[in-house]
């Protein structure tokens, strides 16, 4: 039984570190990528994956309780709404005429 609890905590820790890694990658992408649409790509997908992995680690840590059911509800909510929000932002940007970035000189 003790081994089972140890395995549970290790899985939770690995999931949380994965979530922090993807959140860091998404934040750096928001700063580094060249134009708004690329940044929306970084914020819409990588960040969502990071948050979902982090909350998944919390679910594993909590075990089989009512709280973890609510956490699963939050995971489902974030998985639906975060890409929808960045899609709406990108759609509004392209409707209002924001230019799409293009490479200055072609690739060699």
């Amino acid at each position: 039984m003790e081994h089972l609890i140890l395995i549970q905590e290790i899985v939770a820790i690995v999931l949380m570190f994965g979530g922090v890694f993807f959140m860091l990658v998404g934040s750096i992408g928001i700063n580094r990528l060249p134009d708004f649409y690329c940044r929306a790509h970084a914020a819409g997908k990588v960040d969502t994956l990071g948050i979902m992995m982090f909350l998944g680690g919390m679910v594993v840590h909590e075990g089989f309780t009512m709280t973890s059911a609510k956490l699963l509800l939050i995971i489902a909510f974030v998985a639906v709404t975060s890409p929808v929000a960045s899609h709406a932002l990108a759609r509004r940007a392209i409707l209002s005429g924001l230019k799409i970035w293009q490479r200055k000189e072609p690739l060699k």
Partner: protein, 93 residues
């Protein structure tokens, strides 16, 4: 072998707090308004995880979960309302 989960959650909260500061640079600098909105949305989505971490540290996750759900809904509705609100052309921003 014993893992001290409380210290782990505290260090995770520090890490997420540092990561949360990175998109603020885009909010400050962003050439267009949409960049700033995107940065604010990214900060808001990280706030959800940091509120849940506070719940784990204080050992009252059942209360903090409702707060974080409220944060998630407010973040989403805020971004959607902003996209409905700004309908001028992009050169005006």
């Amino acid at each position: 072998m014993e893992i001290n989960m409380e210290n782990f959650f505290l260090s995770m909260a520090f890490l997420v707090g540092i990561i949360l500061l990175i998109p603020f640079y885009r909010v400050y600098r962003g050439p267009t308004l949409f960049d700033r909105l995107l940065g604010v949305a990214a900060v808001g989505s990280k706030t959800i995880t940091i509120v849940l971490l506070f719940g784990l540290i204080y050992d009252r996750l059942d209360m903090f979960i409702d707060i974080s759900l409220g944060y998630a809904i407010l973040n989403f509705v805020g971004v959607i309302a902003m996209t409905k609100y700004f309908k001028k052309s992009a050169s005006d921003y």
